[in-house]
């Protein structure tokens, strides 16, 4: 074989990739100009942080097949390290600019991952998951035993406005903090994507797919998992460090199971199979924990139901739903499906309306009894003690379920047809 002839074309600039990363940068830059309210600013900042942490989590879940139940340990301890650094910087004992404090968090997250990962990454699969659960519980319980570090009930507070402004930046206004987060978010996302294109990143996929075979091609699977775990800990810690600067207070719950659960849940919802999945997941996380949380007391219930539906019907998450449709669209078949989608969406909304009325009525009876039996839902007056509202809601729900089932069957048929056409097309192209 002749090595002098290049058999694959060399592409110095990958145009598609440039477009996507430029878009990402533009969105990060432009979002606060489009959404200027203080709520939007808070949410955007939280999204930037959540993106880093969810992406770091997916390094374990999606790329390495490691189901961790304790990722908040690394982001949370990173946050604590950062808030302590912030306090030290404020009283003058450490000379460190606020813009580098997230790196302190990253270093702390890495260090914790070095220590704890040496135990957890020895095993894979269920045992790994169990150990991370134990480690998470252990660290969370330590937060109650070590109030000097964790600040007890009140947590540790700091002040991010330290010293003289550098080029007019004080990190006082939220917009300046947002841009700090945005810069870190972009760099970390790029770095984590680059990681997937390295020898270790590829071997991590191999370890996910088939750890046994990896051992027979020269790699120590434990070592692959361990290094990836440390890197994930580092990025999680940076996310935690940004959290400390953003909130100026860190309480023990950030290392707790609730945060770990949210990272797991939303990384999964966003989709662990694609690199960008956790980014969508992080955006959804902030919408759910800020907006849905404000909208209804039953937000966790809705979240649970959504998660359940996703696991059952679209285990690849939102990103794989998108990619599946992009594939269909690429073969020009999406227009055949839009009526079915309309039907599915419509009937899903009907179900949602029916179920939501019942859920909200239950919550009203249990929590707002003092306000009387009447409540308003989407502008409609409902008597929670009357039979009418309940029968009506049940009827709407059942109708929705019926409609949904009918449209779902039709959709599955059409979807299967489209997939078949695509397969045929691919085979036709391959044979040419």
């Amino acid at each position: 074989m002749d090595h002098n002839i290049p058999r694959y074309s060399f592409k110095p600039i990958n145009l598609g990739r440039w477009v996507i990363w430029s878009l990402f940068a533009i969105i990060l830059l432009g979002a606060p100009m489009l959404f200027t309210s203080s709520l939007a600013m808070t949410m955007l900042s939280k999204m930037g942080i959540a993106i880093i942490i969810c992406l770091s989590y997916n390094m374990l879940l999606g790329q390495g097949g490691m189901l961790s139940f304790g990722h908040a340990v690394y982001s949370g301890l990173g946050a604590f390290a950062a808030i302590h650094a912030l306090v030290k910087a404020a009283d003058g004992s450490w000379n460190i600019p606020v813009s580098l404090i997230p790196l302190v968090g990253g270093f702390a997250g890495w260090l914790v991952a070095v220590i704890l990962g040496s135990v957890t990454t020895r095993k894979s699969g269920t045992i790994f998951a169990m150990i991370t659960l134990g480690v998470g519980a252990m660290v969370f319980s330590m937060s109650l035993m070590l109030p000097e570090f964790f600040g007890g009930e009140g947590g540790i507070s700091g002040n991010r406005v330290i010293g003289d402004p550098v080029m007019g930046i004080t990190f006082g206004p939220q917009i300046q903090v947002y841009y700090l987060i945005a810069v870190y978010c972009f760099i970390c996302t790029a770095a984590m994507f680059a990681f997937t294109q390295t020898p270790l990143g590829r071997m991590l996929n191999a370890v996910r797919d088939n750890p046994e075979r990896v051992e027979f091609i020269g790699y120590d699977t434990q070592r692959v998992r361990y290094i990836a775990f440390m890197i994930a800990g580092f990025f999680a810690g940076i996310g935690g460090g940004l959290h400390a600067i953003n909130d100026e207070i860190v309480t023990a719950e950030v290392v707790g199971p609730e945060y770990s659960g949210l990272y797991l849940l939303f990384t999964f919802l966003g989709g662990a199979l694609f690199f960008f999945g956790p980014i969508l997941g992080a955006v959804l996380l902030v919408f759910a924990t800020v907006l849905l949380h404000e909208l209804t007391k039953a937000w966790l219930l809705y979240l649970g139901v959504i998660f359940l539906m996703m696991v059952m019907y679209a285990p690849g998450g939102v990103s794989s739903l998108i990619m599946m449709n992009v594939r269909v669209a690429a073969f020009g078949l999406l227009r055949k499906l839009w009526t079915a989608y309309l039907g599915l969406g419509g009937s899903a909304l009907v179900i949602l309306a029916g179920v939501a009325v019942m859920v909200e009525m239950v919550y009203h009876i249990k929590l707002n009894e003092a306000l009387g039996p009447m409540m308003t839902f989407m502008g409609v007056e409902l008597d929670t003690h009357g039979v009418d509202a309940w029968v009506g809601a049940a009827f709407v729900t059942l109708t929705g379920v019926g409609m949904f089932e009918v449209t779902r069957r039709e959709f599955v048929r059409q979807w299967g047809q489209a997939q078949e056409e695509i397969e045929n097309e691919i085979r036709r192209r391959e044979s040419h």
Binding site: H3, N205, D209
Partner: protein, 268 residues
């Protein structure tokens, strides 16, 4: 590298088993197996079902630890070593049931097999696209295995024969000089088998080969010497002609297999 395959025995021993034993609980599966494979030699390991052929492969490749005895690769002990360490010393094995990375493409499967041997190790500070030696070697392998048209296909969508070819490809990708193939042609049609044996011969040129095989046509066509394993012992290790003539082998195994084969051929 020894490219003169026609005269095995020119070099020293590539692989040596000295009185290897393996027990599971009280049951002894391998009972003092000894074998000395020369550099560049092609050896077929045959024997009845349950003789311990696959177990022996697992012991040699480090998948399982031995109970007693010694295993030497190029004169150095490898028993008790981890599979990845055995592999780094130049011994690579394939599996009876395809054991690949199902979500990765054909190209990525092969590249994973190449990475360690090219010294990439656990590096996460350089891009795969910049590892020229790795990528060139992977391209060569694709061509050699005739899988170049399937380079971006995920393993889960390959045909059975393609999966078997890739299984061999991942095995030889690291450039090991002692190759263990566990029933490489199992489940293939006659014509596929014939093509596949040629492929195996091609990709293992200059290497030492130890293969478990049930198809006697393949065994007699491929092997310089045949080792017969019965009840965890190597009862014969000789050239195909001598093994065929060996009374003990006939009695224990080959007699019935050859009779079956002749009957089958007569029936056709």
């Amino acid at each position: 590298m020894n490219t003169n395959t026609s005269s095995p025995g020119a070099g020293g021993l590539a692989l040596e088993l000295r009185d290897v034993r393996k027990s599971f609980g009280k049951t002894e599966i391998i009972r003092g197996a000894s074998l000395a494979v020369k550099e560049g030699e092609r050896v077929a390991l045959i024997g009845p079902n349950g003789a311990g052929k696959s177990t022996l492969f697992n012991l040699i490749s480090g998948r399982m630890g031995i109970s007693s005895g010694q295993i030497l690769l190029h004169g150095q002990r490898i028993d008790g070593h981890k599979p990845y360490d055995v592999n780094r010393r130049g011994l690579a094995r394939s599996f009876q049931v395809s054991n690949l990375f199902p979500r990765l493409s054909v190209y990525e499967n092969l590249r994973c097999g190449v990475l360690w041997s090219m010294g990439e190790g656990y590096s996460f500070w350089k891009a795969l696209s910049g590892c020229k030696a790795v990528n060139d070697r992977t391209e060569d392998l694709l061509e050699m295995l005739r899988l170049d048209k399937r380079r971006n296909t995920p393993v889960s969508s390959l045909t059975y024969a393609e999966q078997r070819a890739l299984e061999i490809g991942v095995t030889i990708a690291g450039g090991g000089n002692v190759i263990l193939l566990d029933e490489p042609t199992a489940g293939m049609s006659k014509s596929e088998t014939a093509r596949f044996v040629n492929l195996i011969r091609e990709v293992t040129v200059g290497k030492t080969l130890l293969t478990v095989e049930h198809d006697m046509g393949v065994v007699f066509g491929l092997a310089d010497r045949i080792a017969v394993l019965v009840y965890g012992e190597v009862i014969a290790f000789d050239t195909p002609e001598n093994v065929r003539a060996n009374d003990r082998v006939k009695e224990a195994y080959l007699g019935s297999v050859l009779a079956d084969q002749q009957a089958a051929e007569a029936g056709v």
